[in-house]
């Protein structure tokens, strides 16, 4: 059996509507730190998670976004962002706080096919 699994985290929720974005990231980092091959996809409202200059202090929440910049330390394999989700929200690649691979919606199937384990936030 293959020990180091390919894991894909599909992030489609806004960062502060629930704790799910934070907790999904915790799980992704934990799996990656223990040698699994983790990639992240941001789509739908999930693209808001990696928007620059977040400041949720007014609503009493912790800014979770800086942690995404630690993705290289955690050896995350790929960070994909769905182009359609960015376009629909008027977000440009330069608005994102990390260098991500922008993908077309029809590339997603191919990415999903490579995974041993898929997790939705």
């Amino acid at each position: 059996m293959k020990q180091n699994k390919t894991c894909l985290f599909i992030n489609r929720r806004s960062p502060y509507g629930s704790s799910r974005a934070q907790e999904a990231l915790d799980m992704a980092f934990a799996l990656s730190a223990f040698e699994h091959k983790v990639s992240l996809v941001f789509m739908d409202d999930g693209v808001l998670q990696i928007l620059r200059d977040q400041d949720p202090s007014e609503i009493g929440m912790k800014n979770i976004s800086p942690a995404f910049r630690a993705w290289e330390d955690y050896e995350i394999e790929h960070i994909y962002v769905e182009k359609k989700s960015l376009d629909m929200r008027g977000i440009k690649k330069s608005d994102l706080l990390i260098e991500a691979e922008i993908i077309e919606s029809d590339q997603l199937g191919k990415i999903l096919n490579k995974q041993d384990f898929i997790f939705n936030d």
Partner: protein, 119 residues
């Protein structure tokens, strides 16, 4: 085949916990192995010891405990997620708090990781 099951919804919030438990029984009946059941997000509420649903409703927490005791299974509740919500030991029979490190081990040892809930 070896399975890991992750439960992401609270009991009664949705049918996910019921379905997950039934799925666990079914895969064991078919002769597969269940490495671990891991409770995450609001799934940690499945572990509360004092749940007392009306008698004519199903008892989700008890169903988990029975599954665990019968099959000597580990029901692992993510400790950080649980602490954030105030879910603490003593938990219902068969459940215990542990870290995400335990899930990563289970993923290593499993052919399939199936998640329930979270929509």
């Amino acid at each position: 085949m070896k399975f890991t099951i992750i439960v992401n919804d609270a009991p009664y919030q949705s049918q996910s916990a019921d379905t997950a438990c039934k799925f666990a029984h079914a895969l064991l009946d078919e002769g597969h192995e269940l490495t671990q059941v891991f409770f995450y997000f609001d799934g940690v509420w499945n572990a509360l010891a004092d749940a007392e649903p009306p008698q004519d409703d199903r008892h989700v927490v008890d169903n988990w405990s029975k599954l665990a005791l019968k099959n000597e299974l580990e029901l692992i509740v993510c400790s950080t997620v649980a602490m954030r919500r105030g879910v603490s030991e003593p938990l219902a029979a068969g459940f215990r708090l542990d870290t995400l490190g335990r899930l990563t081990e289970a993923v290593t040892m499993s052919d399939r990781v199936i998640t329930f809930g979270g929509s």
